[in-house]
């Protein structure tokens, strides 16, 4: 059976891929990436993949699939979509791998490529990651001079992983994106601002709002669980 993907969509994907530069940004969590650069075995696999060796490319997939899939899953919060985005990221890797020159760690480069794929998809869906309206207009919980904090309801210091996962998944897409990039993936605000084409102040503000939303969600989590 023929590939149902329209040629126009393919051309669009290729053009978008060319328009998405893979910058040399180093997340705090890129320790593994830098280690990979100094790992002679992976360097050999990478060189063979760049030369068109499909088995070497398969090895690269095995080495990086978990991190890329996890990144996509956190950014979009949806398994089927994360699978599609992971596939697209590795397809782009296959197209672009010969252009990797080693200026940064390979996994840092691949990580950024995957982020570009996700951002492109979110923009196609019409997500205004940093909407000026959203940035200027206080969220409901921020209006009327309300301040946050209640001594009897603070988090106990230990957060349940499932509760946090649920709360992150429930965040609005723009908040989730910045929270994932900063607090989970370890990018700095200046790097996020560059990726998302927004100001550093906006990145800080959106992250703060995301954490406030998470705090509210986590504080109500035990009550929600008790009702189940």
């Amino acid at each position: 059976m023929d590939d149902p993907t329209p040629q126009a969509a393919e051309a669009e994907r290729r053009q978008a891929a060319e328009e998405a530069p893979v910058a040399d940004l180093k997340p705090r969590s890129a320790g593994l990436a830098r280690a990979a650069l100094t790992n002679p075995m992976e360097a050999d696999v990478l060189a063979r993949a760049q030369a068109g060796d499909h088995h070497a490319f398969a090895q690269l997939y095995s080495l990086h699939k978990r991190r890329i899939y996890s990144l996509c899953l956190r950014m979009v919060g949806n398994i089927a979509e994360a699978e599609d985005l992971t596939q697209e990221a590795f397809l782009q890797l296959h197209r672009k791998i010969a252009t990797f020159r080693g200026d940064s760690a390979f996994s840092t480069w691949l990580h950024r490529l995957a982020i570009n794929v996700v951002l492109m998809q979110l923009r196609k869906r019409g997500l205004q990651v940093i909407s000026l309206d959203e940035a200027m207009e206080p969220a409901p919980e921020e209006r009327a001079g309300r301040s946050f904090g209640a001594a009897d309801l603070t988090l106990a210091g230990a957060i349940d992983r499932m509760a946090l996962e649920h709360a992150v998944n429930d965040l609005p897409a723009g908040y989730r994106l910045i929270f994932v990039l900063h607090d989970i993936e370890g990018y700095e605000h200046n790097e996020i601002a560059s990726m998302l084409d927004c100001s550093i102040g906006n990145s800080k503000s959106q992250l703060h709002k995301a954490r406030l939303r998470l705090r509210e969600a986590l504080r109500s989590y035990p009550r929600q669980e008790a009702r189940r």
Binding site: D3, T5, D53, H54, H55, A58, Y61, K65, R66, R67, Y69, S70, L73, R74, A82, E83, T86, Q87, F90, L91, H94, R95, G145, R146, S147, F148, G149, A150, A151, T154, L155, G157, I159, R161, L164, E165, V168, F179, D183, I184, G186, H189, I200, G201, S203, K204, S205, L207, H208, R211, L212, L214, R215, L218
Partner: protein, 84 residues
């Protein structure tokens, strides 16, 4: 050393929090935090959330079928040639 006004209301202080937290300053030393239990609790929670995010999220294994799909897509891009 950063000079902070020490007569901020909670609302005014919390309006500055995104910038304070995003900077290299030690927010815990802010006079408002030292004198306000409510904002101290808020800051502690936000720090707990950020720390939990760094530590709690597991790396997830994608489904095995995904590689087959990627191989197929690569093959189709290459005009159906055999992958070697």
């Amino acid at each position: 050393m950063t000079e902070y006004p020490n007569n901020l209301s909670c609302t005014a202080f919390q309006a500055q929090l995104p910038e304070l937290i995003g900077s290299s300053q030690n927010v815990a030393e802010h006079p408002h935090i030292e004198s306000c239990e409510l904002c101290r609790a808020l800051l502690a929670d936000l720090e707990t959330i950020a720390e939990a995010a760094r530590q709690l999220f597991p790396v997830v294994e994608p489904p095995e079928k995904l590689w087959e799909q990627i191989e197929l897509a690569i093959k189709q891009e290459q005009g159906g040639s055999v992958l070697e």
